[in-house]
């Protein structure tokens, strides 16, 4: 009995000291000592000389866009030799797990964290505590609320107003006489769709361009089945749809043929890119005289900017000039600039040719 008790207390003591040691080693890395600045030979300017460990955290890693984005993040990290250790964790769509992933990485003593805060503001306390523990904390893409320099170092968000503005400019150029616009976005009230709508209405003259259907957008949850139902109804209801705007192009693949079933041409489509969509355009453009297409990059490279910022801050490199990721225009079937519509029919449909990562590498990633 006494032996067992002694053994128990010994175990507890070892356990406690282990916890204490971990806490010591993780205690505010890089917070007190000034980060040496400078550059590393052969590395980009954002890569400073101080050696660090970096953690990339995903809120939900389970789709092709996320797989490619994660790989892009890892690829960007590799460009800087000062990052001696790289770790990845997937929250699997579980907010609780995402929070404990952050806490676990902080406890392990990482110097910089790049976080996709899917759960939004629910992630803010965890981000703040990591930041306060002295870890360079960079949330990206989804807005977690809070402020740069108070709750985290910087939020590297996607600037969806740029997308809206790019779409609106294309519509102005290609439909100068005005027309009916159907705008489809994700779940009701999502801020991405609202930002895009506000940017579009800020540019397009309301006297000429009319948004049909629910405003700011027709909610489709980015679900292909619901998109199809919404579009079917819109086609039946509106004899004239001149342009469809969607912030997730590939979800419309099953829906667009509804136009042909009603004996009408697919109209102009302004959206975000995807290989399957490019191939759909190539196959259907001949039969649909009004089908023109323009896409903006889906934004897999948003993560690269976030990694650059986090690495620069933690290693003492040069900070990127912006904290907003602006998706560039990618394809334009009318002008062909910057690119004509692209289709790689021998590669999977759900790769994104707009991403920096080569198409073949993306395909290899998805076929794993």
């Amino acid at each position: 009995m006494t032996i067992r008790k002694r053994f128990l207390s010994l175990t507890v003591a070892i356990g406690l000291s282990a916890v204490a040691l971990t806490a010591c080693s993780s205690g505010a890395p890089g917070a007190d000592e000034p980060v040496p600045t400078g550059t590393v030979a052969g590395a980009p300017s954002w890569c400073g000389p101080k050696q660090i460990t970096l953690g990339l955290l995903d809120g939900f890693g389970g789709n092709s866009w996320r797989l490619i984005t994660t790989a892009a993040g890892a690829d960007e990290v590799k460009k800087c030799p000062s990052v001696t250790k790289y770790e990845y964790a997937d929250g699997q769509g579980d907010t609780q797990k995402s929070i404990s992933d952050i806490q676990g990485m902080v406890a392990k003593g990482v110097n910089a964290l790049v976080v996709f805060p899917d759960a939004g503001e629910a992630m803010l306390p965890a981000l703040r505590s990591a930041y306060q523990a002295g870890v360079v904390t960079v949330p990206y893409r989804v807005n977690p609320g809070g402020k740069d320099g108070v709750d985290y170092d910087a939020w590297i968000g996607a600037d969806f107003t740029t997308d809206g503005a790019n779409w609106a400019k294309w519509i102005q150029t290609n439909l100068p006489d005005g027309g009916n616009i159907l705008f489809m976005s994700g779940p009701k009230g999502n801020s991405q769709g609202e930002d895009e709508y506000n940017a579009m209405t800020g540019i397009l003259d309301p006297a000429k361009y009319k948004f049909i259907g629910e405003t700011p957008f027709e909610p489709t949850n980015w679900d292909p089945a619901l998109s199809q139902q919404v579009l079917t109804s819109a086609i039946a209801k509106n004899p004239k749809i001149d342009v469809i705007v969607s912030d997730f192009g590939p979800s419309l693949l099953g829906a667009l043929p509804e136009f042909q079933k009603s004996g009408r041409s697919i109209p102009a489509l302004v959206t975000s890119d995807g290989n399957s969509l490019g191939c759909f355009y190539e196959q259907n453009k001949a039969a649909n005289p009004d089908f023109k297409m323009m896409t903006v990059a889906t934004g897999n490279d948003n993560v690269r900017l976030a990694v650059q910022y986090a690495v620069a801050k933690a290693t003492g490199g040069t900070l990127p000039s912006t904290t907003k990721f602006e998706a560039p225009v990618f394809e334009d079937s009318v002008s062909g600039t910057p690119n004509p519509v692209e289709c790689k029919s021998d590669l999977p449909g759900d790769i994104f040719l707009s991403a920096e990562m080569p198409a073949a590498d993306q395909a290899a990633l998805l076929n794993k």
Partner: protein, 340 residues
């Protein structure tokens, strides 16, 4: 007099009277179609109907599967996982290669059979609560979905798109599939010995066991058949949507139960009403289309669906004669006194 009349209808000619469920959903559908024609003509235009029918067909097939399980007093909450798994298997495995489609379809049915046997084993043999057991199976199915697809099922093959999503003689192919499934279910359940036993067991498993019927086998079979039908629905849905998500089945959990209930099948088990279930699927799908055409905001659309379900449940579960008696008690106090 009463007895003889019963004998005559029972033996000389089988009951052909439409069920209460069929009459109810049939009337509801007619009212809805009239309302559509008056308030939102675009929702019954050719294009809108052709767009609605494929989803109605998928819902009908899922609903028939759920009905078989509900007939045995069970409930199957693994519908989302089952539909999603079928979608992922038939899109991800061929990965665009038409020649691999048939093996993938067979594999999907294999998975469905396994999931059905598992549900049947847990509920029929071990006697677990159906809600808990099938929820667990649902989680397992989604794990398989993620394992196979990494969360992205990719585009369905061209062949499947034309087989499941195509149109012949002006009618979407999925309608033919759903009609075939409905006919098979009706014939098997209503016209075969096994089907009659199946229904008898659902009505009263204790009595059925006493008469020597193999209750567990039939209960397990209900889950297996259910899974087969969800699998068919998933394959159809993959073809219809062309680029489905890995979680496409999620939206079918509630509607699958709703059409069974609206069709008049009791959640306590017993007789099933396949035709009424199919009509209910068309009703719910047209209701969606109607709401879209009228331009009801998204939030209200969800409320309308919920209201339809609530009304459906209320129609069959509330003892209306008693309600009438209670509210009419001031004028007719005698009947209440006698029933009480």
């Amino acid at each position: 007099m009463f007895a003889t009349e019963r004998q005559v209808t029972g033996l000389a000619r089988p009951r052909r009277r439409a069920s209460k469920g069929l009459i109810t959903v049939g009337v509801a559908l007619v009212i809805l179609l009239v309302a559509s024609a008056v308030l939102a003509p675009s929702s019954i235009s050719q294009g809108a109907v052709l767009g609605m029918l494929p989803f109605a067909s998928v819902l009908a097939v899922v609903g028939l599967g759920q009905m078989l399980v509900v007939q045995q007093g069970g409930i199957d909450l693994s519908v989302p996982g089952a539909v999603s798994l079928a979608i992922v298997v038939v899109s991800r495995i061929p990965n665009g290669d038409d020649s691999l489609l048939v093996p993938a379809v067979l594999l999907a049915f294999g998975f469905a059979a396994l999931a059905g046997l598992l549900n049947g084993f847990l509920v029929g043999r071990l006697g677990l609560n159906a809600i808990i057991a099938t929820l667990g199976t649902n989680a397992l199915l989604f794990a398989t979905v993620l394992g196979i697809s990494n969360g992205s099922p990719t585009t369905t093959t061209r062949l499947l798109q034309s087989v499941a999503g195509g149109v012949s003689f002006g009618i979407p192919h999925s309608v033919f599939f759903a009609a075939a499934v409905a006919v098979i279910v009706i014939v098997l359940v209503k016209k075969t010995v096994a089907g009659r036993r199946f229904e008898a067991i659902g009505a009263n498993p204790v009595a059925a066991r006493a008469t020597g019927l193999r209750v567990r086998v039939h209960q397990t079979a209900a889950y297996v058949w259910g899974q087969m039908l969800y699998c068919i629905a998933g394959i159809l849905l993959a073809g219809i949507t062309a680029q489905p998500t890995a979680f496409q089945g999620n939206t079918y959990l509630i509607p699958a139960v709703a059409v069974v209930v609206l069709g008049g099948t009791s959640l306590l088990g017993g007789r099933g009403f396949p035709l009424a279930t199919v009509v209910a699927a068309v009703f719910l799908s047209q209701l969606d289309q109607f709401n879209l055409a009228v331009g009801v905001p998204y939030a209200v659309r969800t409320l309308v669906q919920a209201a339809a379900l609530a009304v459906g449940v209320a129609l069959y579960t509330i003892d209306w004669s008693r309600v009438r008696a209670r509210f009419g008690s001031s004028t007719k106090s005698k009947p209440v006194a006698t029933t009480a």
